[in-house]
Assembly symmetry: C2
Homo-oligomer: 187 residues x 2
Amino acid sequence: MSVRDTHDILERLSNLFRIEMRTFGLKFGLQPVQIEALTYLTQCNRYSDTPQAVGEYLGLTKGTVSQTLKVLEQKGFLRKQQDKQDKRVVHLAPTVKGRKLIQQSFPAKGLEAALKLTSSVKVRELEEVLRSTLRGMQYHNKRKTFAACQTCRFNEPQVKGAVCGLTQEPLSVQEIQLICREHQYPQ
Amino acid sequence: MSVRDTHDILERLSNLFRIEMRTFGLKFGLQPVQIEALTYLTQCNRYSDTPQAVGEYLGLTKGTVSQTLKVLEQKGFLRKQQDKQDKRVVHLAPTVKGRKLIQQSFPAKGLEAALKLTSSVKVRELEEVLRSTLRGMQYHNKRKTFAACQTCRFNEPQVKGAVCGLTQEPLSVQEIQLICREHQYPQ
DNA sequence: TTCATAAAGTATCGAGTCAATACCATATAT
DNA sequence: ATATATGGTATTGACTCGATACTTTATGAA
């Protein structure tokens, strides 16, 4: 059992995700990248719902992302809205139609069955290793971490709810579970 | 901790794989899909090194694959060779240049570091769950399993070496570690 | 044997991705 | 007040991908 073995399994799993994403998207006339973008937009917080952030998340240039989002908007999966403070910024909100689509998309068919056969302790351990792998890859490639406020070093738990140390704004219980583009792990 | 959580981590990991694959390939003028095809060809056995098999593995049509392989051949990463028995069939062999490229490509940077921090027992468990997830997804989506002869129900261990129950041909020790397109799990 | 059908692979076309470049509008810094 | 930086869009060219049509070779049935 070498690192390469684990690597190969993850790589194959990654292939399959893409294949399933493609066949799923085909039914709605969407490309894999469009589904990925829309998925992200259902998971990110209010600081991270811009074309720029989508580009950073998917590792694409802003020009490329701009086109992807144009298609998603034209097909009615998201709405664009100009930021009140900074008029250069556009916020992207999935429509009800968009959210329903993503709820339906669950490429990892079989994952559920596989996890049911595994004890919950082991599943937690599995998640931990995967998360640490993710962090390792992000760190190694100097990418942003894109994780939830919950685990962010800027997240300051206070007497009545959490506050973001960067913006000094209060964060709701729902919001601290969302992905943030400014996320940094402690230390 | 829900199935969706694990799912999301895997999905993100899958994203990162693709991003790293893209940036790596860019240096050599190769697209992600071309690297994936070449990777497969360095891992598959003699029954599985055809355009058809590559297409099944990557979930693409044969027309699409044909073009991908044309580029790889033109750039000197693989050689085509007509089958002796069935003249319709083409076998694809990565060149030395091609093999070297794949050896260099190790998208899961950080994986090594993450696994080093984890006990070998847990790593084995991790692999097991990942493998079972893979199997689950393949089964659920009615895809071929594309695994090594070692775990195939057609693999018949005999006194002097293994034999493939489908072709009745003997299999070398090296060969039973390679990916086969006819692979089926026992039972 | 002969003729139909199937299978493996290639070629071409149109829709779409993606990076690069240029560009516009708005913020920010000096 | 003006230069520069930043967020986003538009356009172009190389490439992917599916669909379709096509060629060559195998196989199966009359």
